[in-house]
């Protein structure tokens, strides 16, 4: 049975379960306690399906921290979040020791706790899910769901953990691990206040878990035929990066009057955005970025900023790529390597003479 079909089954089971357990749970949005025999992948999928719907039906506010770890750096941020189903989330990042000024403007973003239904499908496709008991988190009872790497045993098997609030279904805490079992990203609410009444339009019950099966593209996303047309026009649009991160959203944006292709990839745990623009990268250094050697020998270096999210900028094939991701470093590096790279400009007298001869030849070539 494929993961998608299993997801459909779970959604249906969730609907049935909600109906069987009466209207009380459905009206309050409370996640029912798992039956003794329900601990497993089916139950885990059901919990995450509820979590995917909670952001659309719940109004809450709280403080969340996000920490990331890299080989040589670690960063942590604290943000105040106010969320309503109608307007989404407003995130205000607090000042820290290395940044005394607060963020100039709050950004309207999707809920930090919302599990996008498309990401949930990718999560089910890439990982084996299981419920790993219950714990206390943010002063609330939470069901712990683990995403396991198929075919991997030991501590390295765990790729991610979710703490799903038993009462509301919101994700209270989330951890992501690299292939070595090291924690690379952690986010959690330090305090959280949830309005008791769910949003009426969402019919906040586990019955809402049936929605994930409707995997229609998000509004504004490019359809498949449009992507094919862009590919024929020379745009790099891989269906997946490194085999794990799959394309789940593509759209054309406009930045300062220039067309930008925005591709979103995910494996359900980590998200990677790839922005492609026609043009070339400036030859000068980029402030705040470090030059690193990635890709094959002879390719031009890339510019990296290891923050949350990590950002990598480089040029290749007549385009400039800007990659933003919260994925583990090895996944980001593999994704960057898999994309085109310009050759590093050669320096020295011989290289200069070769360029000049090539230019002379192009002028003298009557067929050129």
């Amino acid at each position: 049975m494929s993961r998608l079909r299993l997801l459909v089954l779970v959604a249906g089971a969730g609907t049935l379960l909600a109906g069987m357990q009466g209207g009380a749970a459905a009206r309050t949005g409370t996640v029912p306690d798992p039956p003794a025999s329900g601990i497993g992948e089916t139950r885990a999928l059901e919990l995450l399906s509820v979590a995917a719907q909670a952001g659309r039906t719940r109004t809450y506010r709280g403080t969340q921290y996000v920490s990331t770890w890299r080989a040589d750096t670690a960063s942590s941020d604290v943000a105040d979040i106010r969320h309503t189903p109608a307007t989404g989330s407003v995130v205000q990042v607090r000042p820290t020791a290395d940044r005394t000024e607060p963020a100039d403007d709050a950004q309207s973003v999707t809920s930090a706790t919302d599990l996008d239904v498309r990401l949930l499908q990718l999560l089910a496709d890439h990982y084996q899910l299981q419920q790993a008991g219950n714990e206390r988190c943010t002063g609330r009872t939470a069901h712990v769901v683990e995403a396991l790497r198929p075919g991997v045993d030991g501590p390295a098997a765990v790729a991610g953990r979710f703490w799903v609030d038993a009462a509301s279904g919101l994700v209270l805490r989330r951890e992501v691990f690299d292939t070595g079992g090291r924690l690379v990203r952690s986010s959690a609410f330090t305090d959280l206040t949830i309005d008791p009444a769910p949003h009426a339009a969402g019919s906040a019950s586990p019955a809402g878990a049936s929605s994930p099966v409707a995997l229609a593209a998000a509004p504004g996303a490019l359809p498949t035929d449009a992507l094919d047309a862009l590919r024929r026009d020379g745009w790099q649009i891989p269906a997946d990066l490194t085999g794990d991160l799959q394309l789940f959203d593509a759209r054309v944006r406009s930045h300062d009057g220039r067309q930008v292709l925005h591709l979103s990839y995910s494996d359900g745990l980590s998200t990677l955005s790839l922005f492609a623009q026609r043009g070339r990268l400036g030859s000068g250094p980029m402030h705040g970025f470090a030059k690193q050697k990635v890709g094959s020998a002879g390719s031009a270096p890339v510019w990296v900023r290891t923050a949350n999210p990590e950002r990598v900028v480089w040029g290749g094939g007549g385009q400039v790529f800007t990659l933003l991701s919260d994925a583990p470093p090895e996944s980001v590096r593999a994704a960057v390597t898999a994309l085109p790279h310009d050759r590093a400009p050669r320096t020295g007298l011989l290289a200069r003479l070769q360029r000049g001869l090539a230019r002379l030849g192009s002028w003298l070539n009557p067929f050129g």
Binding site: D77, S111, S273, R280, L281, H287, G288, P345, R355, L360
Partner: protein, 176 residues
């Protein structure tokens, strides 16, 4: 008259006879009218030739070129030159020897080497100038990928809280 000196008469006119021959020819001229007339004619001709430069008709350029271009065995051809009006200048005709025979291909080879060397030097110089500092992309338009709009778009597609630090860096921009 028998016993005429014959060719010695021209030698007398040119002053090329030794003392004994000249005395003998002069003694003969006292008694031989025809020889005396011939000597007079030779002297008159010599005088005329010596002063006849201005009166000698100048050959045309085409005729000069044809004459100088004649291939005579053992004689090196002379490069044609434009003759100026005025006294005819004697043209040196040097018998072709062994060194002259080998000098011709050697000169051509040297000329060829110099020509090729000059062209190569010209090509290298042009390549050095044209090869100038490497400029990737040619006519492509430079863009700034550090704009904070990327972060907002990324946030739109993710479920995590973004750090504002990249935004701050993006505002600073990049130097080119």
């Amino acid at each position: 008259m028998t016993g005429c000196p014959g060719d010695l008469l021209s030698g007398l006119v040119d002053g090329e006879l030794d003392h004994a021959s000249r005395e003998r020819v002069l003694s003969h001229l006292l008694a031989c009218t025809p020889c005396r007339a011939e000597v007079d004619a030779l002297r008159a001709l010599k005088t005329r030739l010596s002063w006849a430069g201005a009166e000698t008709p100048v050959p045309t350029d085409a005729l000069t070129a044809r004459l100088l271009g004649l291939v005579v065995p053992g004689v090196e051809p002379v490069q044609p030159m434009r003759l100026a009006t005025g006294p005819v200048r004697p043209v040196s005709v040097r018998p072709a020897g062994r060194s002259a025979a080998t000098a011709r291909p050697r000169r051509r080879a040297r000329l060829r080497r110099r020509t090729v060397g000059g062209l190569v030097a010209l090509g290298i110089g042009a390549a050095f100038v044209l090869g100038g500092p490497a400029s990737p992309g040619g006519a492509q338009v430079p863009i700034d990928p550090t704009t904070d709009q990327f972060v907002a778009d990324y946030v739109d597609a993710t479920v995590e809280v973004p750090s504002p630090q990249p935004v701050t860096a993006a505002v600073v921009g990049i130097s080119r």
